[in-house]
C-alpha cells in the first residue's frame, strides 16, 4: 500500500472509484456481448428473409435467367452460387447448436415447412471463395457464418454462404465518452459524500489538537456516523477525566500553598522583632523565597482555570503602564518600536506574562528593554536583558518549575521560579509562543510572539 493516499478521505475516494470502474467495465462487457447476440439475431432474421426471397425469385425464373440473377445477388455478405455439389452439412454437434437450430427454423418458416433445406456451419475459411473479407467466420457469438443449400423444384441446388455482417458502426468513442461522464459524476458525488462522512472526523482531530490550548474547552458534538460518534463520546469522556484529574491536583496544590501563607506570615512577623540585623536579613531572604514559591504556585494554578475574555488591547499602553510601575519601583525599562493596531488578547493575563519576563530581565540584568515589532499577522515582543544569559544546553529547562540556572547565582536571585512557565502558558493560550535565546551581544532575549491578524 505504498502508493495509497494518506488521508482517510483519499482512501475512501480511491476505494469508491476502483469499485465503480470495475463495475463499469463488467457492465460494459456484458452489454457488449448482449449487443452481439442481438445483432446476431436481427442479422439472422434478415439473412433468412433474404435467402427465402432469392429462392422464391429463382424458382420463378428459367435456367439462363437464374445465372444472371445470381450474379446480381452474389454480393457480400451473402455469396450465392448455383453449381456447387451437395455438401454434407450435418454435424454431430448440430443439436447442440442453438444458433443453428434457430436459424434453420426461421429459414423453414420463410421457405415453407416442406422445403428440403440443408443448413450447416461452414468450417472452411472464407478466402476459399476468392474474395477478401467475404466468407463465413467462426466465433462463439460472432456474426452468423452458415452455409445453406436449398434445392429448387427442378433439382438445381442453390448454395448460400453467409459471411461477416458489415459492422453497425464503431461505438468505442461514444462508450469512452459515456464512461468519462459517468466517472466524473461519480468522482464529484463521492467527493461530496466522503467529505460528509469524514467531516466529523476532522472536527474530532481539530478538537484533539485544541485540547492542548484549553483543557476545559466545550465538548465536541457527538454527531456523524456511529463510529465517529463513539470516538467523539470517548474523546469527551477522556477530556472530562483529564480535566477532573487536573482540577483535583490543582485543588490540593492550591490548598497547600494557601495554607502555607499563615505560617509564613507568622514567621515574617516574628522576624521583624529580631534585633540582630544580619540574622533578620537571612530570615527575610529565605522567607521571601518561600513566599515567592507559594505566590507563583497559586498564580500558576490560577492560569489553568482562567476565563478572562479576549478583548482588543492597546499594547503600547500596556507596556507604558508597566514601564511606569517599574519606574515607581526605581527600575529601568526601555521600550523600542511601536504597534499601531489594538491586539486581540486577555489583558490581565498578557500583562502578567510580560511582567514575568521583565521581572526576570531586571533580576538578572538590572534593566530591561522591550522591543516591539508588528508584522502582517503577528506581534513580536522581545524582552532583552544585559545579564549572563543561560547555557545553551539548559535553555529549554528554564521553563521547568523552579529551575535554577547556575547554583551560586540563583541562591541570591531566586531563579526563574514558575515565572517563565506561567508566561509560556499564557503565550500558548493566546495561540502564540515564548522562546528564550542568548543574544550574540550578550544577555538573554525572551521572544514572545502573538497572533495579530489584520
Amino acid at each position: 500500500m505504498r502508493f495509497a493516499p494518506k488521508s482517510l478521505f483519499g482512501r475512501l475516494v480511491l476505494v469508491l472509484l476502483a469499485g465503480l470502474v470495475l463495475s463499469q467495465l463488467a457492465t460494459l462487457y456484458i452489454n457488449q456481448t448482449e449487443r452481439d447476440q442481438l445483432l446476431y439475431r436481427a442479422g439472422g432474421m434478415r439473412l433468412a428473409q433474404q435467402i427465402s426471397d432469392i429462392v422464391k425469385l429463382l424458382e420463378s425464373l428459367p435456367g439462363p435467367e437464374r445465372r444472371r440473377v445470381v450474379a446480381v445477388f452474389n454480393r457480400p455478405p451473402l455469396a450465392v452460387t448455383l453449381d456447387r455439389p451437395a455438401l454434407d452439412l450435418r454435424s454431430e454437434e448440430e443439436d447442440a447448436d442453438f444458433q443453428l437450430s434457430i436459424f434453420t427454423s426461421v429459414l423453414r418458416y420463410a421457405l415453407g415447412e416442406d422445403a428440403k433445406i440443408e443448413v450447416g456451419r461452414t468450417h472452411r475459411p472464407s478466402h476459399e471463395h476468392g474474395e477478401r473479407g467475404f466468407g463465413p467466420r467462426r466465433g462463439r457469438f460472432g456474426p452468423p457464418a452458415f452455409t445453406v443449400q436449398v434445392p429448387l423444384h427442378d433439382g438445381t441446388l442453390v448454395t448460400f454462404d453467409s459471411s461477416v455482417l458489415p459492422p453497425v458502426g464503431t461505438t468505442t468513442l461514444r462508450l469512452a465518452l459515456t464512461l468519462a461522464v459517468l466517472l466524473a459524476t461519480v468522482i464529484v458525488i463521492s467527493l461530496v459524500a466522503v467529505r460528509w462522512v469524514t467531516g466529523p472526523l476532522t472536527v474530532l482531530a481539530d478538537a484533539a489538537e485544541r485540547l492542548g490550548e484549553n483543557i476545559n474547552r466545550p465538548p465536541i458534538p457527538e454527531a456523524g456516523p456511529a463510529e465517529v460518534q463513539r470516538a467523539a463520546r470517548s474523546f469527551n469522556a477522556m477530556q472530562q477525566r483529564l480535566s477532573r484529574s487536573i482540577a483535583e491536583r490543582s485543588r490540593v496544590l492550591t490548598a497547600m500553598s494557601h495554607d502555607l501563607k499563615t505560617p509564613i506570615t507568622r514567621m515574617r512577623l516574628r522576624t521583624d522583632m529580631l534585633e540582630d540585623d544580619a540574622v533578620r536579613e537571612k530570615f527575610d531572604r529565605d522567607l521571601a523565597e518561600m513566599e515567592q514559591m507559594v505566590t507563583q504556585t497559586l498564580e500558576f494554578m490560577r492560569d489553568a482555570t482562567d476565563t478572562e475574555p479576549v478583548q482588543r488591547v492597546d499594547l503600547m499602553a500596556l507596556l507604558e503602564s508597566l514601564q511606569a510601575d517599574y519606574e515607581d519601583m526605581g527600575k529601568e525599562v526601555r521600550i523600542a518600536g511601536r504597534v499601531s493596531r489594538p491586539l486581540g488578547a486577555r489583558p490581565v493575563a498578557l500583562r502578567r506574562c510580560v511582567t514575568n519576563l521583565v521581572d526576570n530581565a531586571i533580576r538578572y540584568g538590572a534593566r530591561a528593554t522591550i522591543d516591539v515589532a508588528e508584522e502582517a499577522d503577528r506581534v513580536t515582543l522581545r524582552v532583552l536583558d544585559e545579564g549572563p544569559g543561560i547555557p545553551e544546553a539548559k535553555i529549554e529547562r528554564a521553563f521547568e518549575p523552579f529551575f535554577r540556572g547556575e547554583a551560586s547565582r540563583s541562591r541570591e536571585t531566586g531563579g526563574f521560579g514558575l515565572g517563565l512557565g506561567i508566561a509560556r502558558n499564557i503565550a500558548r493560550a493566546h495561540g502564540g509562543e515564548l522562546t528564550l535565546r542568548n543574544r550574540p551581544e550578550g544577555g538573554l532575549a525572551a521572544i514572545l510572539t502573538l497572533p495579530h491578524p489584520a
Binding site: 509564613i264 522576624t271 521583624d272 478583548q311 492597546d314
Partner: protein
C-alpha cells in the same frame, strides 16, 4: 513615633494577633487584638478606634461582610488582610469599603507603612475610596474596569493602567467636580518617598491625561486649577 493612634487587629490566628499587637505597640500605637466580629463590635463600643486591620477569612461572619456593616455606621479606615492575593479579592475588599489591602504573607514593616499611609490619607481627604460596590465606572466615554484595573475606550479597546495611574484615577472618580490639592492626591500615591511630591504628582496627572487622550494644550477631562490642584470635569456613573 509618637502617635497614640488606636489600631485594632481582627484575626483568628492568635500568634499573628499577638505579634501584630506587639509590633504596633513597639512602634508607638495603642493596639487591641481580637479574634472575631463579635469581639470587634464589643471593642468598638468600648472606645475610639482610629484604624481596623481586618482579616478576610474569619470564623463566623467573614471580613467582607463585617467591613460592609462597619461602613454603614462608621467611616473608620480599614486595612483588609487577604490570604488569596488575587486581584479580584483585593478589589472586592476595596469595593466593600476597605481603604487598603495587604496580601498574606506580609511583613510587620509593610503593615506599619500601610497603617501610616492610610491614616495620613484619611486625614488629608476624609472620604473613602468606596465606589458603592461598583465594578465599572463610566465617565466621558471611558469605562474603568475596577477588577481588571484597566480602562476600556468607547470603541472597546482596552487601555491598561499602571498601579499609580489606577490609584490616581480612582481618587478623581470618587470626587468628580471637586478640586483636589496636590497634597490630597499625593496621600494616595504610593511612590518613592525621596522624590519631591509636587513634581511627582504633576508627572502622574500628565501621564494619566495621556492615557485618556486628554493631553492637548487645553485638557478638558482633568483640568488644572491654578494654585489649587486638579479637578475631574466629567459626570461619573457607577455600575455594578
Amino acid at each position: 513615633m509618637e502617635t497614640n493612634d488606636h489600631v485594632m487587629v481582627v484575626d483568628d490566628d492568635a500568634e499573628i494577633r499577638r505579634l501584630l499587637g506587639d509590633y504596633l505597640r513597639k512602634n508607638g500605637y495603642r493596639a487591641t487584638a481580637v479574634a472575631d466580629g463579635a469581639a470587634m463590635w464589643a471593642a468598638l463600643a468600648r472606645g475610639k478606634i482610629d484604624l481596623i486591620v481586618l482579616d478576610l477569612m474569619l470564623p463566623g461572619e467573614d471580613g467582607l461582610s463585617l467591613c460592609r456593616k462597619l461602613r454603614s455606621e462608621s467611616d473608620t479606615p480599614v486595612i483588609m488582610l487577604t490570604a488569596r492575593g488575587e486581584e479580584t479579592d483585593r478589589v472586592v475588599g476595596l469595593e466593600m469599603g476597605a481603604d487598603d489591602y495587604l496580601a498574606k504573607p506580609f511583613s510587620a514593616r509593610e503593615l506599619l507603612a500601610r497603617v501610616k499611609s492610610v491614616l495620613r490619607r484619611y486625614r488629608a481627604l476624609p472620604m473613602h475610596l468606596r465606589a458603592d460596590d461598583a465594578t465599572s465606572i463610566r465617565f466621558s466615554g471611558w469605562t474603568l474596569d475596577v477588577r481588571a484595573r484597566h480602562l476600556v475606550s468607547a470603541d472597546g479597546v482596552v487601555t491598561p493602567l499602571s498601579g499609580a495611574e489606577f490609584q490616581l484615577l480612582r481618587v478623581f472618580l470618587s470626587h468628580p467636580g471637586q478640586v483636589l490639592s496636590r497634597d490630597q492626591l499625593m496621600s494616595f500615591a504610593k511612590g518613592r518617598e525621596s522624590e519631591p511630591f509636587e513634581r511627582t504628582i504633576d508627572l502622574r496627572v500628565s501621564r494619566l491625561r495621556q492615557r485618556l487622550g486628554d493631553d492637548g494644550g487645553e485638557p478638558r477631562l482633568i483640568k488644572t486649577v491654578r494654585g489649587q490642584g486638579y479637578v475631574l470635569a466629567a459626570p461619573v456613573t457607577m455600575e455594578r
